[in-house]
């Protein structure tokens, strides 16, 4: 705990305090990294990527609300006529860095699992 405080303030720590991300958060960032979406769009994206990882609608919207609060994503009211009540989400600079950091973390873990024999070595 003490270390975390003494290092606080550096950019890197600010990113790391978000890690690890929950799967739903990672999926949201992944979708938004490709461009702005509204909520249902994100769900469709996730469905398209991996059918088994689709979160509950409520879970995802709660994650969206929290990620807006913490500044990983931004929300703007839709400008489409007749669609003013919908929010459109876009990833922020920080969100992008967090998503990349999380991807690196997962990659490192996967690699470690392979070295340790938990996963099969990737066929080259």
């Amino acid at each position: 705990m003490r270390d975390a405080y003494t290092h606080m303030g550096t950019d890197r720590d600010r990113i790391e305090q978000y890690l690890p991300l929950r799967p739903v958060e990672f999926h949201i960032l992944l979708s938004l990294a490709a461009g702005e979406r509204h909520g249902y769009g994100i769900i469709q994206d996730i469905e398209a990527r991996d059918d088994s990882a689709v979160p509950d609608v409520g879970t995802m919207y709660r994650a969206l609300a929290r990620m807006v609060d913490s500044g990983l994503i931004g929300a703007v009211r839709s400008t489409d006529p007749g669609d003013e009540r919908r929010n459109v989400y876009r990833i922020t600079e920080r969100g992008l860095r967090v998503a990349k950091a999380e991807a690196r973390r997962l990659y490192a873990l996967t690699r470690a699992a392979r070295v340790g024999g938990l996963l099969e070595k990737k066929a080259t």
Partner: protein
């Protein structure tokens, strides 16, 4: 149904499920969630048909329940995880400092309320709950003989052989000791100044039985009992300190009533041998002595010798039922041994229960009153915090519009309440520690374990925790109110003022009125009971009476003539003192029935009057157990006993005729018709002639007749009169030095002790009811003040809020008076609702305090209606004063402005 209809139905279902989420989340995300579900529903219906749509509905329900509840709990959870306590407390501190008047008023109320709670908690905890300073005190029982069937005490002492039988029982009863009190004098040197002491004669295993060892020396050995025992004595810590506190006292000699004894031990300061009142006056024994006889050798039949209190220890873990069975078995042994006596009924009561039985109703009532007071305090604080939250609802709206989440609002209110409660608790604990000291000063001398009452850290911790809990609980209602309004509704209501908070405040006022009425009715009943108690006729006139004890040790007066001569000289010397109107002596002073004089010189005995008109022919029921009180001539006049017939004892005494004075109870029982004067009572082989009838001087309680009393002439029967009474027209205290001088001149070996005026004795008998009345009355008035404040605040808020509406009413022709009635009526309605709700509570409270009331029904209609009227008057005044602002409303400017 077509697909479109299914989809519309689905959308309605999804919208309904949105209600599980909190309002602000719903505003922000609701549309998205419904859209996402509708999208899924469309796809599902198209691909898999209606059945899978039903499945989607169910999973949406599960999703909504899980995430909706989760989202509602999130403020609390996230604050716990990431909250910044320092910052939150800093804000609370600043906010509270900004409104000092509010803080001062709230803290004052809390401190007084919690202080009262602390005092009551301490007393209840110490007296009723805390274990006594003995080893496994739960296994200690007193055993009493129930003689109520034959008109005797229901809690009478045992004969020596009965105690010996208990000692031999050895089933679940591990051991038993007998105890008896005496009042010898003690001096360190043979010719030293005598101190009057209280001595406990007991079986040698007393200290082993209670499981406490002396701090110096040793306790009694098992063989140190009986006629041949060594002359050994154990001192109490207090008397040891009074004698100088020298540890080398062990092994040295002291003189008890002129006989030498060897000190073998000194008990520790914590060894408070708490006696039952049947055992003696409310003071600790100074010296402990083993019996100079064997209990089993005592006469089993003479009822006048049944003077041993029995204390037994039962085997650990024995249930009270098994103890009762074991005692019953002993009673059978007793009855087999003495078949000619009326069958003895023995019963056991746990030491602590036995001890606190007389004060339990008072303490239970006070405890309940304190709990109700805490509730009233909580409700009151809640209403104050709600008012503050309502004042700040614009601030809440703005801060939430600027991005503060709901938890910030909750935190603000809860921390404020918690801080107030915590500080109030600390202040209450401080006040309570003074209050506990005050209680000990005020408490009747015979409040069990009175000297152990002091506020300790543990009690202070409880009071502070109660304060904190009270503050937090009180803050929850306003916090929830502030949270549940969504941003939009908050902004909307802030234009009109706080409608929701007013509804809640009304509810709070109703609750306050109900709780207050319960407390007030209890307080009213207790006060009325106390008033009745002050008005009762105790059967004597306490004004101008000085009483004191002159202990005459039998060893100093081996011949009865010497004793009588001494008493005559004392009487003459006292009568010659300036200002003395009359002098008397008695064995049993009124209201001191628990004194040792009763166990030694006053006694109970069955009285029968053959040939009296009240006899019904049944020998058992024609004998009445009466208190036999020896008194010298002049006692009745000095004490101011009310003579109903005949005369009292005269100075001139006939050697052949033994005179007696009976009380009205004996007179009406045996002589319902005709006069008792001249009738003869067989008494100890002689015959007493009744010369007079007096109204009974109350011996034990001020308010109720005790056992019938039979006064016998001291000179005929006993040589030793312990209590002297002087009637004077002046201040009785001024006589004390002259009295001491007079006795010392007659015999310097005789100590004068227990100097008290009769008014002080009466006062002491009134202490417990007075404390109860003052405390409960204080609680009730405090609650009344709180409810008045609550109503005042609510009505003033209402007048301000409805200013516009009232102005319009006035403009439309309503008179000021009518408008005033409208506003006052708002408060009156709440009071009436509160009072109606309180009725079951008042009924229950009456039942609970029944044991405390003297000559007052727990549902006394006069008291209860007086209390209700008082509540209505005060609350209506609290409504009327702020409502008068209506009279100052001028509709014109407002109408112009509109």
């Amino acid at each position: 149904m077509t697909h479109d209809q299914f989809l519309r139905l689905s959308e309605r279902w999804f919208r309904l499920l949105l209600r599980t989420y909190p309002a602000d989340f719903r505003d922000e995300m609701g549309a998205g969630i419904v859209e996402a579900y509708c999208g899924r529903a469309r796809v599902t219906l198209k691909r898999n048909g209606v059945m899978s749509l039903a499945w989607l509905w169910c999973s949406a329900l599960a999703d909504a329940l899980r995430n909706g509840c989760g989202e509602r709990l999130r403020p609390a959870v996230s604050w716990r995880r990431r909250g910044d306590w320092g910052r939150d407390f800093e804000f609370a501190r600043r906010r509270l400092l900004r409104s000092r008047a509010f803080v001062a008023a709230t803290l004052g109320t809390l401190a007084v309320g919690l202080g009262a709670f602390a005092v009551v908690y301490t007393a209840v905890e110490k007296v009723l709950v805390a274990p006594m300073p003995y080893h496994e005190p739960d296994n200690l029982y007193f055993v009493w003989r129930d003689q109520s069937a034959s008109g005797g005490l229901s809690r009478n002492t045992l004969a020596g052989p009965d105690v010996a039988d208990l000692q031999h029982a050895r089933d679940v009863i591990e051991d038993a000791v007998g105890m008896q009190l005496s009042v010898p004098t003690l001096s360190v040197r043979r010719d030293g100044e005598p101190l009057q002491t209280l001595m406990l004669l007991t079986s040698p295993q007393l200290f082993d039985l209670v499981g406490v060892a002396p701090i110096l020396g040793r306790g009694f050995a098992a063989h140190e009992v009986g006629p041949d025992r060594p002359a050994v004595v154990v001192l109490s810590y207090a008397i040891w300190k009074r004698l100088g506190g020298d540890p080398s006292i062990v092994g040295s000699q002291v003189w008890l009533s002129e006989s030498p004894y060897t000190v073998i031990g000194v008990m520790g300061p914590d060894f408070r041998f708490v006696r039952h009142s049947n055992l003696g006056p409310p003071q600790e024994p100074d010296v402990y002595l083993p019996f100079p006889f064997h209990l089993a050798d005592q006469h089993p039949l003479n009822p006048n010798l049944t003077t041993f209190a029995a204390l037994v220890r039962v085997r650990s873990g024995t249930s009270p039922e098994r103890v009762a069975a074991a005692v019953d078995a002993v009673a059978r042994v007793v009855n087999e041994r003495t078949p000619q006596a009326a069958p003895a009924k023995l019963y056991a009561t746990r030491l602590q229960d036995d001890l606190v039985a007389p004060v339990r109703p008072a303490l239970m009532t006070l405890g309940l009153a304190a709990v109700v007071l805490i509730l009233v305090l909580t409700v009151n604080l809640s209403s104050l915090l709600l008012a503050r939250a309502a004042e700040r609802d614009r601030e809440f709206a703005v801060s939430r519009a600027l991005g503060a989440n709901g938890s910030a609002v909750v935190r603000a209110t809860v921390i404020e309440g918690g801080v107030l409660g915590l500080i109030g608790g600390v202040a209450g604990a401080l006040l309570g520690s003074w209050g506990a000291r005050l209680l000990v000063e005020l408490a009747p001398l015979d409040l069990p374990r009175r000297n152990e009452i002091a506020l300790e850290w543990s009690a202070a911790a409880v009071v502070i925790s109660v304060g904190l809990a009270l503050g937090v609980i009180a803050a929850v209602i306003p916090a929830v109110w502030a949270l549940r309004a969504s941003l939009a509704s908050l902004l909307a209501t802030s234009v009109r003022g706080a409608g929701g908070s007013q509804r809640l405040r009304r509810g709070i006022v109703v609750a306050q009125v109900a709780l207050t009425l319960i407390l007030l009715s209890a307080g009213g009943l207790v006060a009325r009971s106390f008033e009745r108690l002050l008005a009762v006729d105790p059967g004597f006139r306490p004004a101008g009476l000085l009483t004191f004890r002159v202990a005459m040790d039998p060893r100093l007066f081996p011949k009865r003539e010497d004793a009588f001569a001494f008493q005559d000289r004392v009487e003459a010397a006292l009568g010659a003192l300036p200002g003395v109107r009359s002098v008397g002596a008695t064995a049993a002073l009124p209201l001191s029935s628990s004194g040792p004089q009763n166990s030694i010189w006053g006694w109970q005995e069955a009285v029968a009057i053959p040939g009296a008109p009240g006899n019904i022919g049944d020998a058992q029921r024609d004998s009445l157990v009466a208190q036999i009180i020896a008194a010298r001539a002049g006692y009745a006049e000095s004490m101011g006993l009310r003579l109903l017939a005949g005369r009292t004892f005269e100075r001139r005494r006939s050697e052949t005729v033994q005179e007696a004075v009976i009380d009205e109870q004996l007179a009406s029982r045996f002589f319902p018709t005709g006069t008792p004067i001249g009738a003869a009572i067989p008494f100890r082989g002689k015959s007493l002639r009744i010369v007079g009838v007096v109204k009974q001087p109350r011996l034990s309680a001020l308010h109720e007749d005790g056992r019938p009393q039979l006064f016998i002439r001291a000179e005929d029967w006993v040589g030793f009169m312990p209590v002297w009474v002087i009637k004077t027209d002046e201040d009785p205290h001024a006589l004390v030095p002259a009295v001491r001088r007079a006795i010392r001149q007659i015999d310097p070996r005789i100590p004068v002790s227990s100097v008290q005026t009769m008014e002080e004795i009466v006062d002491d008998a009134l202490r417990q009811p007075r404390i109860s009345a003052v405390l409960i009355g204080g609680f009730a008035l405090g609650a009344l003040l709180l409810v008045a404040m609550g109503l005042f605040g609510m009505i003033s808020g209402s007048v301000v809020r409805r200013h516009g509406e009232l102005a319009v009413r006035l403009a439309l022709g309503a008179s000021h008076q009518r408008t005033l009635r409208l506003v006052v009526g708002e408060g009156a309605l709440l009071v009436v609702i509160g009072m109606v709700i309180a009725i079951p509570g008042v009924y229950a409270a009456g039942g609970l305090i029944r044991g405390l009331l003297v000559n007052v029904s727990p549902w006394d209609p006069i008291t209860l209606s007086a209390v209700a009227c008082g509540l209505v008057l005060v609350t209506m005044a609290a409504c009327y004063v702020p409502a008068r602002r209506v009279l100052r409303i001028d509709p014109a400017p407002l109408l112009r402005q509109e």
